[in-house]
Amino acid sequence: MGAEFVQLSLTPILIGILAAIACAIPGNFLLLRKQALIGDAISHVVLPGIVAAFLVTGTISTWPMMLGAAGAAVVAVVMIEAIRRLGRIETGAAMGVTFTTLFAAGVLLLEQTDTSSVHLDVEHALYGNLESLIWLSATGWTSLWDPAALADLPPELTRMAVTTLVIALLTVVFWRALKISTFDEGYANSIGIPVKTIGFALVIVSAVAAVAAFDAVGSIIVIAMFICPPATARLMTNRLEHQILWSIFFGAGSAVAGYVLAGYGPLWLGSSNAVSAAGMIATVSGLVLGVACLYAPARSRVTAAGH
């Protein structure tokens, strides 16, 4: 665990952990509000948004991409509502239709666009470029105290760290209102909590997490982290406070385990090529959920409730 680890693996692992946590925290509330598919929808519609932003600006710099993705997320939310109301189609189906259509449109748009000069393609959209987010100027652990080396950290790391911190802070500040309105919207309304605003803010925060994570780690991790860690965490405890902490643990754990398995697993099996870290992280989070379904302490709660 020396210089090579710091240079090649430390930043991808940290970015993976931060992306997992940023998605897992709002994922808990989406799951309890039976809106888990929103995370899925948002992470898919990010693609056409980013492609459109690229077409307009001709670059893949951060802010145009963020704005494009946010715009696409808003379009998606409006489309879902419109399909649901005008077509009288249930919400889940409306979301499914919306995100597949928009994602497919994004793929078509991408094919028609000359993006050969920049790093923007369908593969990138699906599983990001986690392995390439290395810290070139690092020479070892001491680089963590070297301002010159720190200045050369991948910008994705700083962006993801700020996003995760903001999401964590918002969750703490609005915890009580979020919890009450998630559990009992009518009651929350009656005591003056602005439930519509809170519900909308939750979707926005999820979109911000998805957009920030998308660039670094791709949509596969985003989708997995919105659902798998919170669902696993729900099986571990019957208290929301503990569920959030468990989901952070499972998200971060999947990121570390998935990255290590992707990098070294094939070597252990005698193959020389590493596999996609994003794919492995998402797979690990799914497997952890599978194990929790069989053995977790709070999994038998439905039968215990007796209804």
């Binding site: 309890l32 559990f183 309304n189 005591i191 909590i193 405890t237 208290r239």
Partner: protein, 275 residues
Amino acid sequence: MTTNTLPALELAASDGHTGDMNRDTGLAASALAVRGLTVSYGTKPAVFSIDATVPKASMTAIVGPNGAGKSTFLKAVLGIIPRLSGAAYVDGKPLETMRRAIAYVPQRASVDWDFPTRVRDVVTMGQFRSLGLLGFIRPAHRKKTLECLERVGMADFADRQIGQLSGGQQQRVFLARALAQDAGLYLLDEPFAGVDAATEKAIIDVLKGLKAEGKTVVCVHHDLATVSDYFDHVLMLNIRKIAEGPVTTTFTGPMLQETYGGRLATTHIDQLKLD
């Protein structure tokens, strides 16, 4: 829809109930006053142009057949669902400025009881107004939570996950949460629906205690047989208001027939022990 109902509402306003608030003598003297309340789902009115006045320190039942808009009325009064028109006043002031004085108990079936939280956490939600967004839960809050659970006979269950409770126990926890609000006006949506006899007794004892303290209780209620025993005031709804007033003079056979559109058997009405 809007164009259809608005002229009718103006008509209702012109007969003296709504219109000028200052001349509305019922407002200030009442715990809850509703004026010209209309709610519509799609193109059909669910509740149409309702005026109602709930006296202070009364126990009021809202009765009416299924689909009469009883729950809708309550939710629209609270602003949980949008009103097409109308207003609600608590102690003569607009309800929106009086939320601190109101405790609402929603239908038990309206929430997912599998939610990961404990009984004591649900009751603590009732103290949101005094805790605020970030206030720490202090010993006084914990004591209050346990006192409220004690009043509904659920103190022993404080640390249970709410999904592990029976339906009656869940209803009592909801009532404890409302008690924790220290409100003056309690609005309950079907508090006796699907609960066991012990819970029904526990709830009615608490509600009668509230009335004795000078507080006002309003329940959406579907069991006509207990209206005379539990309540002193009644509001009879079937989309429109059919009648309101003291149970002894208002809750009568003819009024029931009108409220239920003649669907009640006369033998059923005879069994209601009407005076």
